[in-house]
């Protein structure tokens, strides 16, 4: 597709359930980033991928969060045993390469996750 695609657009889940959020980056973009935006807050960096590799997972808020990327394309962010504090908009972005930096990221429309 022409842009970064995220699905679902909105997700409502019960506390304790697992959820999977999907990101399909721009074709040919080797770098992919996940951010979390809590209500009224800025963007919190979660994790990035270079190809299928995630060199630094320290931004993930807890061990309930995991992410993977297969085939150098689609990425999935999984939250296990969801908690109410996980409610947020999860944004995905991609760039042609990870480095050298130009700072130009292309963002998707995000997934709004609501944990009840």
């Amino acid at each position: 597709g022409a842009g970064v695609s995220q699905s679902p657009s909105n997700k409502v889940t019960e506390k304790g359930k697992d959820v999977e959020l999907r990101c399909d980056p721009i074709s040919g973009h080797t770098a992919l980033y996940w951010y979390r935006q809590s209500l009224g807050q800025g963007l919190e960096f979660l994790i990035y991928f270079q190809g299928n590799s995630a060199p630094d997972k320290s931004g993930l808020p807890s061990d309930r969060f995991s992410a993977e990327r297969t085939g150098g394309s689609v990425s999935t962010l999984t939250i296990q045993r969801t908690q109410q504090e996980d409610s947020a908009v999860y944004l995905c972005a991609s760039s042609l390469v990870f480095s050298p930096p130009s700072g130009t990221l292309h963002f998707g429309n995000g997934t709004r996750l609501t944990v009840t």
């Binding site: 951010y35 807050q41 963007l43 960096f45 944004l91 972005a93 130009t104 990221l105």
Partner: protein, 117 residues
């Protein structure tokens, strides 16, 4: 670690008027990039303007311009001739320009701008 601060949670401006959004940052780097992103209700982050720290000239994109004060670590966004479509959240963002940091961005907390008719 770099930090980005936007001190104005909300602002409003009359249509056709000019408004300035503030941003300060903290870094020990000398070469870096600064950005303003716009987030309308659709949630998609849209790049408004980009500034490279080694360039002294302030970046301009149509009605959008920045006032980059490197010594003061200040990076404000000026929107001229405000339009209703400018209503959105605006985020200031920082990229440290180092190879190992790649294209990762650090964002400020955002400023909600309302353009009134």
């Amino acid at each position: 670690a770099q930090t980005v601060t936007q001190s104005q949670p909300e602002m409003s401006v009359q249509e056709a008027e000019t408004v300035t959004l503030s941003c300060t940052y903290d870094t020990s780097e000398s070469n870096y990039y600064l950005f303003w992103y716009k987030q309308p209700p659709s949630r998609q982050m849209i790049l408004v303007i980009r500034q490279e720290a080694y360039k002294q000239q302030n970046a301009t994109e149509n009605r959008f311009s920045v006032n980059f004060q490197k010594a003061a670590k200040s990076f404000s966004l000026k929107i001229s001739d405000s339009q209703l479509g400018d209503t959105a959240m605006y985020f200031c963002a920082f990229n440290e320009g180092e190879y190992n940091a790649g294209n990762m961005l650090t964002f400020g907390g955002g400023t909600r701008l309302m353009v009134k008719p």
